[in-house]
Symmetry: C2
């Protein structure tokens, strides 16, 4: 019982944290509950029921299945479902009529064949990258509706009526879900993507700014506290699939806030890719924060200032870019920091050129410092292309 109590407490804490991390999750749960309650009432009350019959069940089903966290996902699923149901229903009824012509024995064979062909082709089409990204759900619903309508036709002479009823209940369910999703505290995929990318850039900026202040001094004091900036950037490394999903969802969204319909979401993916490329380099740098490589203090002394300056200028530039992105306003601050970074890089390069500074050491001892310097110089061009990407 003690252990179980502990487990329950842990669970409760996890749930609490989940809500605190993003209170919109609680609102989302509330929205889903509301949508289901509203749509259930269609099914429940006598007069509405008489209109739609058992098909009203499809409205409940639709709401549960298409209601997603973001508006983009919900709209995507909803529209996919409605259109696919409509097209497949029509084709299903046609297939049914066609099979009808072939008489009592031919009908089941023909219908089975149709079902097989449609399901097989559509399943194969789902592997097409474009389809998989945006119309996967629609193709699934297409197969489903086609099979249901074509086959159920045999049982029921009222195929058309049933097909029509199902379609209208699905549309009702879909509209209720989409309306509630959009009207009550909507979560836009586009805005989420925008924030994700800019906060990723900001994380890299934090790292670089911290790195300048932390890396070289820490070698003197050897007191390495774990600062938060050191691990933030790691989430950037694996953000590719999240970004792609969001961009696909965002394409379904109407214009909202500062985003138009058909906002150039692909541009965000490009910036995201550049950011990740920068993050790979940062990961290499981070290794030097962790390692206990001893470096003669003179070497440090030589490049400390230039490295610190370069790193923190780039950090500031990135943070400024992130800020500009968030506010969607262009300022000259980022550009100033970019120019300063380039100057710092030049300075570092010319320092490296001064042979007298380095000749007393062997290259192996200089190696860590040289690598850090080289990677930092490398990052300058990454930062520059990010800044160009953001401007576009």
């Amino acid at each position: 019982p003690e252990r179980m109590k502990g487990q329950i407490v842990t669970f409760a804490l996890t749930v609490k944290k989940l809500g605190q991390e993003d209170p919109r999750r609680i609102i989302h749960a509330f929205k889903v509950g509301l949508a289901i309650t509203i749509v259930s009432m269609f099914y429940y009350f006598q007069p509405l029921y008489n209109g739609f019959g058992v098909s009203a069940m499809w409205a409940v089903l639709t709401v549960v299945v298409i209601f997603e966290f973001t508006v983009g996902a919900t709209l995507g699923k909803g529209l996919n479902r409605m259109i696919a149901t409509c097209v497949a229903g029509y084709l299903g009824v046609s297939a049914h009529h066609l099979a009808d012509l072939s008489g009592r024995t031919g009908e089941p064979i023909l219908l089975g064949l149709f079902g097989f062909l449609v399901a097989g082709t559509m399943t194969f089409m789902r592997f097409l990258p474009k389809v998989k990204a945006r119309y996967d759900y629609g193709f699934m619903i297409f197969i489903l509706t086609f099979s249901l309508v074509a086959v159920s036709g045999y049982r029921d002479d009222e195929v058309m009526k049933i097909a029509h009823q199902r379609l209208s209940t699905i549309i009702i369910g879909g509209c209720i879900a989409m309306l509630i999703c959009i009207c009550i505290c909507p979560v836009w995929s586009g805005a989420e993507l925008h924030n994700l990318i800019s906060s990723n850039i900001e994380k890299l900026g934090n790292f670089l700014e911290g790195f300048g202040g932390e890396y070289l001094p820490s070698m003197e004091g050897k007191s390495k506290e774990e600062k938060p900036f050191r691990h933030q950037y790691k989430s950037v490394l694996g953000s590719k699939s999240t970004e792609e999903t969001m961009a696909n969802q965002a394409a379904w969204e109407p214009s909202h806030g500062r985003f138009r319909f058909r906002h150039p979401w692909k541009q965000y993916l490009k910036i995201g890719a550049l950011t990740r490329q920068c993050a790979y380099r940062v990961d290499v740098l981070n290794k030097y924060l962790n390692s206990n490589v001893q470096m003669p203090p003179e070497i440090q002394e030589n490049i400390k200032e230039a490295c610190t300056k370069l790193s923190s200028e780039m950090g500031k530039a990135l943070k400024e870019i992130a800020m500009e992105m968030k506010k969607m306003r262009r300022t000259s601050t980022a550009k100033t920091h970019m120019i300063k970074s380039k100057a710092a890089a030049q300075e570092l390069k010319s320092l490296l050129k001064v042979t007298s500074l380095w000749e007393k050491f062997n290259l192996l001892d200089i190696l860590p410092a040289a690598t850090v310097a080289s990677v930092l110089i490398d990052i300058v061009s990454c930062v520059e292309s990010i800044s160009e990407g953001v401007c576009e």
Copy 2:
């Protein structure tokens, strides 16, 4: 019409390529078609129909919805669906009875409240990371079934009978889908994950082997052909989410081939993470293949041999590790290459120590060579931890 013809040809080529890339996709489409045809017949033929009524439709629906490309995904969705339907159906019937006690006016209010609470709580629970990874679909079906059963109870006095029919048709549909998925040319997530990880390691090995042969010579000849090894590794960088999905799916799979049930799939994720870490470093190296940095030929001469040796030994070691993984057999070849790589790294380090070799150059000219050397040395430890990870 000319343009349209062109588009059709392009489309046909894409489809053909899709099938050629992975012929199992065609088999999968065939399997889905077969499963749907079989299950439609349940719905279609009179005697079976009399047993199940309109509920037979749920069998078709289940097959379409749960049939996925891999066995793991199908089993995961199938089991989630069956268990969730069973539990939610039972609770739904209970909720219906409970609401019944409160009389004609209280009933709709109570049922609406139940629906709201269950849908809200379950939707919120879906945000829990563990639930999201493996039971997301189950929770959705739970909400769906609960709402349907609880609400439909009002209309129908035969709640129990209908709930029972639905459950059995869902189980029939689920079993048919799972059987066909497992019995006809199954695609195991576990085996896929295993192959993905080993081929990722192999790609890195190819790069490193190629890098040794390509990078330094190319600076002489300046004839840079684009070799395929140069871009293969890029797919490794973003493989995180694919690996995680596969590991989650693989956890559903029974023992198959060389994999037991409860194979340590998490270990694969660890190896995957190490491989990606290595890939980040390789990305930094790749930049030096692309850049046109001029380097005095003497510098090149100095480290060319050691770098080439180190890089190609590591490449061989990685390829050997990948081979061992594929065959699931441990050989000593990889270990030999590991030992040779370490020796090469030592050699490179001692070369760097020889001050006389380097003193005539300024550090800026040496920088690219130094960075390549440093990153290569860095990769040694990555390769070592991959090899340790694979051994476990």
